[in-house]
């Protein structure tokens, strides 16, 4: 019913950028070349932690294939950068702190030649002890990654609410468990690429690349060059996926390209192959999570104590913000009186970790939702019952002391919808009763160790139903939308109507492939009674529209949608004014804008074509361009106790996973995921479905296959033969269901969806596997080894695996 008030919003609208993309015409960064262009190739040192003594280029200096070499000495401005702490060098000059580090860049016309030459650069270094276990990072004798900081602690977020000791004393049961999650690679299908073009005279530098946050990139490049922001123009090429991953790495590559372009006076391109991309780019944080929960016989949680270590790797990047979201959401969407949480982000010599879709939530959700199911099992309840007892309702107080109000607090609504849709409780109970016969691994191992006459009898063979077990599991979450207390939250959108009724639109946020352009075009079209295809979305260039902050935290729809609506409404009012004058209508006349026409609400027959109205306004000299500005309400936060209204609003989701586990191979097959989300109003139905498919699939990858494992700081999985991401065959059916809750912010209350869809899936799958096997797995991913042996296997340089 809510939908009836819209003409286009919520309907399936095909994407704006579809034509270029299906014809191969879309220009991604590496598809763009400039005349006279050079390439940059990185010089690295195969060591995880070392002091740099000297870099000797004498073997290659005079080689004809080398145009120039850039290193830290060529940087006129900031030698180190970073979004929060400036601890990451553009080119390393004091220390190497992780194997992805770069000490210099060779510049020349032939990448192949440069790759040969880089082997001849002689870097003398003094190896230092390597720190790879984040749990040891804060021990007194741990090697310091950045000695000047005096500690390996990047950030500590405490949260103190109520009295946990009292809460535990009042509990009938106490459960303590430890969970871990690995580093994860974004694996955007397009590897990094950027070109810096020096501009004539004093015009600065122009950068085109696979850049997620052009304004952030501009800040970094300007700082590195020591220039004013306005001299650096960043243009986003078509982006082949990002998922939070084309931020820091692209800022640094852009800065390197800019330094080289200015040094040589020629365009310089840097493009990474997959191996180099995985080696140098940042990851999703690996987490070590200890949970202690006290609850009553009736299932009420009385207290929760949480200790989390996040492996930030070699540089701080977004670690303080990522872990901040963790501390806000670590207790899940549950009312808990007494909470004591510590989240610490630390430095190690591992690859650095930063923003990735989910941003500090997939990890604690895996732990907290696993524990909720353990509590249910212990109390003989079903997973939905335990969540019904503790779940947020309207007016609930969160762990940070925030009262949830003034929007639909839909935790239980999404839960009930998912439970109904899947007949959850009945099936869950049935699976719990499955025959308990399991593969006797100990006997198998013994048999293998004592090979006697190995004769198999009929009873040694398992029936298929004993090998293939069904399981069903669910997970629930709440998620703060946009930046919250993480940063300034304001977005610009530029809208310009042309004389013939067509329009240009551009927001300061960046299209990352998620369909944002289409969403904004729908919003503008809805307000102005146009069709989305009447709106031409411009390429994002920092020269055109105000700094709108980063495209992160699923803020694109909420904030950018809000700004677009403001812009469209401003122009609509101007047009209404023109029409009132033209037709001599009273001030109070309301108009309907629909189907490219405009008419007074009470005179549907008196129509004017939208194009004609624009033409009229044009000849009256009315300004038909505007910049819409949308800023989020202020939020405040007490850092010392982790209390305050962290985000101005929240979204809610529940996913149910149905799996089959093969007990003899350890394989988990995801048959079906029902994903129920409340993203507020759905603007772009096709886009929203796409977000669910994408998020659930990536979440399943997180749950079952994906892992960046590190050996002495070195990543083992450098390409898709080792780093396994889901294919079309790996997941059965995904069923998106939207519950559109009321919300006062954004465009008609449209909030966010990209991240909520990802954060739940691994947890739901783990709970389904528990339901199928009767065993709880504490370490992602639940790959074959984990299910079969209860541990991970890694290839070693020697024969066999450890």
């Amino acid at each position: 019913m809510k939908k009836s008030k819209f003409n286009i919003v919520g309907k399936p609208v095909i994407r704006q950028d579809g034509l270029e993309k299906v014809t191969g015409q879309a220009k991604f960064a590496d598809d763009i070349n400039y005349p006279n262009q050079l390439y940059g190739v990185m010089v690295r040192v195969p060591v995880a932690h070392a002091k740099i003594r000297s870099i000797d280029y004498s073997a290659i200096e005079n080689h004809p294939a080398l145009t120039t070499i850039c290193d830290a000495n060529d940087i006129p401005g900031a030698k180190k950068v970073g979004p929060i702490k400036q601890d990451q060098p553009i080119f390393c000059y004091q220390k190497i702190v992780t194997p992805g580090d770069v000490v210099a860049m060779l510049v020349g016309e032939s990448e192949e030649e440069l790759l040969r030459l880089r082997e001849l650069v002689n870097v003398e270094y003094e190896p230092l002890p390597v720190l790879t276990d984040p749990r040891k990072a804060l021990e007194p004798d741990a090697p310091l990654i950045h000695p000047e900081l005096g500690s390996n602690l990047v950030i500590h977020h405490p949260l103190r609410k109520g009295d946990v000791e009292k809460g535990f004393a009042e509990s009938d049961y106490i459960l303590e468990q430890t969970y871990t999650t690995p580093f994860i690679e974004h694996a955007y299908i397009e590897p990094e690429a950027v070109i810096a073009i020096p501009r004539e005279g004093n015009k600065g530098v122009h950068i085109v690349g696979s850049i997620q946050n052009p304004y952030t990139t501009r800040k970094v490049v300007a700082a590195v060059l020591g220039w004013p922001l306005a001299k650096v123009r960043i243009q986003q090429a078509e982006l082949g996926g990002s998922f939070g991953g084309k931020d820091d790495i692209m800022n640094i590559l852009s800065a390197r390209a800019a330094v080289a372009a200015l040094k040589t006076g020629r365009p310089v391109k840097i493009r990474y192959r997959r191996e180099e991309s995985i080696q140098e780019s940042y990851k999703r944080h690996a987490y070590y999570m200890h949970y202690k929960v006290g609850f009553t016989r009736e299932g009420k949680i009385k207290a929760m104590k949480i200790d989390i270590i996040a492996d930030g790797g070699a540089y701080s990047s977004m670690t303080p913000f990522v872990t901040w979201r963790t501390v806000v959401q670590a207790t899940g969407p549950y009312e808990i009186e007494n909470v004591w949480t510590d989240v610490r982000g630390v430095y190690t010599n591992n690859p650095y970790a930063g923003a990735m879709r989910g941003f500090g939530s997939p990890q604690p959700i895996f732990a907290q939702e696993s524990i909720m199911d353990e509590i249910a099992v212990q109390l003989g309840m079903t997973p939905d019952e335990i969540r019904r007892i503790n779940g947020f309702r309207s007016g609930s107080i969160t762990a940070t002391g925030q009262k949830l109000e003034k929007h639909d607090v839909n935790v239980l609504t999404v839960l009930e919808t998912a439970v109904r849709e899947t007949d959850f409780a009945r099936r869950w109970r049935e699976n719990q009763q499955q025959t308990k016969k399991r593969l006797d691994l100990a006997a198998l191992e013994e048999a293998a160790a004592n090979p006697g006459p190995f004769i198999l009898h009929k009873e040694d063979f398992l029936e298929p139903e004993e090998v293939l077990r069904k399981g069903i599991g669910l997970a629930v979450s709440f998620r703060g939308t946009s930046l919250g207390a993480e940063g300034v939250d304001a977005v610009a959108a530029y809208l310009s109507l042309q004389q013939d009724g067509s329009a240009y639109l551009l927001s300061g946020l960046a299209e990352n492939g998620q369909g944002m352009r289409t969403t904004y075009s729908i919003i503008a079209a809805e307000v102005l009674g146009l069709r989305p295809e009447d709106i031409y979305y411009l390429d994002l260039d920092t020269g055109y529209v105000g700094d709108s902050g980063p495209t992160v935290a699923s803020r694109a729809t909420l904030m950018g949608g809000g700004a677009t609506k403001v812009a469209a409404e401003t122009l609509r009012q101007r047009l209404e004014k023109v029409l009132r004058r033209h037709w001599n209508l009273p001030e109070t006349t309301n108009f309907v804008f629909a189907d490219r026409t405009v008419y007074p609400e009470n005179q549907p027959d008196r129509k004017i074509a939208f194009a004609e109205l624009c033409n009229l306004a044009y000849w009256e000299g009315v300004n038909l361009a505007t910049i819409g500005w949308y800023s989020g309400p202020k939020v405040h936060w007490d850092e010392s106790v982790g209390q305050g209204p962290a985000y101005f609003t929240y979204v809610y989701g529940c996913q149910v996973a149905e799996v089959t586990v093969n007990l003899s191979t350890g394989e988990v097959y995801v048959e079906r995921v029902v994903a129920v989300h409340d993203p507020g109003t759905v603007i772009n139905l096709l886009g929203a479905q796409g977000q669910v498919y994408g998020g659930v699939t990536q979440g399943a990858g997180y749950g079952l296959w994906e892992e960046i494992s590190v050996d002495q700081g070195f990543i083992r999985e450098l390409n898709f033969d080792q780093y396994l991401i889901p294919t079309s065959k790996d997941i059965g059916e995904i069923v998106p269901i939207f519950v559109e809750g009321e919300e006062r912010y954004g465009a008609w209350g449209a909030k966010s969806l990209g991240e909520p869809t990802l954060e739940l899936t691994a947890a739901a799958i783990a709970n389904a596997v528990r339901n199928a096997t009767g065993r709880r797995f504490h370490h992602l991913p639940l790959n074959l080894e984990e299910i079969l042996l209860g541990r991970k296997l890694y290839p070693t340089s020697k024969r066999g695996s450890v």
Partner: protein, 205 residues
Amino acid sequence: MDESKKPKAISRRKFIKGVGTGIVGTYVVPSALSAIGKEEKKGPKEDWIPISLTVNGKKVRVKVEPRMTLAELLREELELTGTKVVCNRGECGGCTVVLDGKAVYSCHILALDADGKEVLTVEGLMQGEALHPLQEAFWEKDGLQCGFCTPGQIMAAYALLKRRPRPSVEEIKEGMSGNLCRCAAYPKIIESVQAAAEKMAGRSS
């Protein structure tokens, strides 16, 4: 897990190209040849070998460096950038083109081996102004997000439909499982292939 994702024994390409390894293992960027290749005078081209092939219906005669892959030939020499290189290792299908009617990973085939053959890339699908039914279907059914994997998906689907004009969902899943999509538009990719099959059946009848 499907075949294409299993770790492989040393591949032919890796074998051929596994010289000059940097710290990134077999990291070699042969496409840098473009810089030499485009301006004939600059690079020593003595060891380059002339081949002729048909690309998108046009006869092409070109000299190739012996180690150059078909993907590099297309992207760097012929400037057909619709074909993407994603893993450069025969693992993802991003570089899929149709060679003599079959879908192949162009990063995994030497340009030399395309001598005398017929190559079809995403740029060759349109008939004048008209989109190919597969292109129409991927657009209408939203079989993409970022679109970087899309040319490869479309070309894989093209070969699949050639082989099986009315594939079942299972056959589509199987047939397309060599093409990774990190945006995971899979359900809509499958719908797109089905829709295209219907369109094509309708048009030919």
